[in-house]
Symmetry: C2
Subunit: 383 residues, 2 copies
């Protein structure tokens, strides 16, 4: 691969990403794009494009300039230091998107009459305000936006990203083995023991943390798809079904796995577990370049239906800077994702019963040129 002269490989990767977006803007005739990451509207596209993790606006102009208005300018100077982006303080615009956009349009010399795209998640009432304030421009807000295009670009990981996720998966697998050992030895006795063990082991390995709050549900609570609260002082790994759903976040990239621990099951519980394991064995090998993601999810739904069960959630989802991203592995008619090499996603069949408890088995799959690779080693663990 051709490298930019005098530029680090990280900078090169970031520039390559920005160029894809600038090319898309030129095609679409958009002069300026605003991306926003804030507490109420997270957008990891900014991290993907600049390295800066959160709380910022990113302005991209079609003449190939980039301006980052960061809430925490000290943090931005460190995290976005490999990016060609210009960094300014979001506080200079009262932390108000309309003010920042108005200033960016001026600084970046966007000609009046040009198209400016604001995020597709902009609420309808806020959209009206943008239109009312930036009267010199044609304000665009649509589903097929820069943010959605970038999110789609992110579905196929480049070599650098795959290397990071493989490292995160390696850590995840080490922790899975330790969890098995410590639940079996009785060192981990409660849900919170399991959740805290993961947090500590993750950070010992240099992870940013977990990719979401670990869901540790002992037999009394595993009936819930996503246990609430996420973990308590209740027993874990005692008689019945215990679910442990966790992921690591390493250099921004997420893993996501679910183990089920079983102990002294009755025949109905054994049947539940067996069906989930079979659904996993049925669907994981369907993961190939060119496969319709919908078909994999449909296979799981059909299998459960045949066995008079119903899975109350989708079969899987992409993984990357977010724990839930493209491609969707869902049995919905509008899901037209087709698997490609470089895509990384979960496959996570699960069944839940208010009396028997729940069982889920979730692993992370990488699509390769000639098949797939299961990156993680989540499993049903019999105690």
């Amino acid at each position: 691969m051709e490298k930019y002269s005098g530029v680090s490989s990280e900078t090169h990767a970031l520039i390559k990403r920005l160029e894809k977006v600038w090319d898309w803007m030129a095609q679409e005739g958009i002069a300026l794009v605003m991306l926003e990451d804030s507490e109420s509207k997270r957008d990891q596209n900014i991290r993907w494009l600049t390295g800066h993790p959160n709380d910022a606006l990113l302005f991209l102009s079609v003449d190939r300039k980039a301006l980052l208005a960061a809430w925490d300018i000290n943090l931005a100077k460190i995290y976005a230091c490999k990016s060609p982006v210009t960094i300014v303080s979001y506080n200079d615009f009262d932390r108000t998107p309309i003010k920042a956009l108005t200033a960016a349009a001026k600084t970046m010399r966007i000609p009046p009459g040009s198209k400016i795209e604001i995020p597709s998640v902009t609420p309808y009432p806020a959209f009206l305000k943008f239109v009312g304030e930036l009267t010199d421009y044609d304000i665009i807000c649509r589903e097929k936006s820069a943010a959605s295009e970038i999110s789609k670009m992110r579905a196929v990981k480049d070599d650098e990203e795959i290397a990071v996720i493989k490292k995160a998966a390696g850590f995840t697998n080490e922790i899975i083995d330790l969890l098995e050992k410590n639940v079996k030895s009785g060192k981990i006795k409660t849900e919170i023991d399991a959740a805290m063990f993961i947090q500590i082991e993750a950070r010992k390995r240099g992870c940013e943390g977990t990719s979401f709050e670990t869901l540790a549900a002992g037999p009394e609570r595993s009936y819930a798809i996503h246990a609430f609260p996420s973990s308590t002082c209740a027993s874990f790994g005692t008689q019945g079904l215990s679910i442990l759903d966790f992921g690591l976040k390493y250099n921004g990239y997420c893993t996501d796995v679910t183990l089920t621990f079983t102990c002294g099951l009755n025949p109905k519980q054994e049947k539940l577990v067996s069906l989930v394991e079979k659904a996993s064995k049925l669907t994981v090998p369907m993961s190939h370049n060119g496969t319709q993601a919908r078909d994999i999810a449909a296979a799981a739904d059909t299998f459960f239906k045949k066995n008079k069960k119903e899975m109350p959630h989708g079969l899987g989802h992409g993984l990357g800077l977010q724990e839930h991203e493209y491609p969707l592995i869902r049995n919905k008619s509008d899901n037209d994702w087709v698997l490609e090499p470089g895509m990384i996603f979960t496959i996570e069949p699960g069944l839940y019963d208010p009396i028997l408890g729940g069982c889920r088995l979730e692993n992370d799959i990488l699509i390769t040129q000639d098949g797939y690779e299961v990156l993680t080693s989540a499993r049903i663990i019999n105690l």
Copy 2:
């Protein structure tokens, strides 16, 4: 207070809240309101109105009916059991808001031509779809929405809520004392030690967890407003300034405090700490019934400006089911919140310097009939 006959006090409190919303709907001439809580758009109004914590749509009709479409129906049956709401499975509508709304309008017999309000955070492109599909109705999406009205109602806590938050604050204060002891004794040596200690102590006390990921930043990282990552294996409480920002979540309600630990400071660092402490002492006593929240925040900004410093964030925010809610304690011209008895909010002056490090001091304040009560005991701790 008059009680409904044969109804528990919890049910009574939930009905009272629903009635406020139904009254508002009648005034506004709205036949049906949809509220949504999903991964990408959290809305704790649903929990406030029904007890159900997350991942659901709530439909309220002006003829005083309520329908909860919950993703996890098993969880809803437990958490919303005190509510008069009818519970259905969101899966019956393919987990698609438009399908669920269409079905709710039919089930709840909303007459054609009526006004139906969808969340004010509905993205502009999604708004167009609702309008395109529900052609029999007048679809309303505006800033002054049911959700924003309910969020405003929530700014003043009732006696039950104050009791819960006081209990959470008591736990928070116990943990603050333990943190001081354990950092001083050397039992807590790293950021992750501090963060994990809080998690474990929170859940031991029956909390749902922390109200957000604990931000533990040792001297190398305290320059950031919100340290990123939230905690690492770096030293904590060693020479310089260490920030610890955390909150507990108890029965749904949040606390939020920040301690700064100091050790062997140079004169510039001492000055920074002294200014933050002074700003706290200046502004907390301004918390009275009838005070403009903006004026308190302006007093802090003016004080820092006089001392040639600038605080890069707002002075505080309301606390309740969310860690950030109304009232806003910000120095912005459009902030017209006036303090009232029952309001609970943070006051959290802070200063950050890339070389010196950062200092923030955050406590939770309750407005009473004749003044204020500082519920938490966060402080500057000299090691």
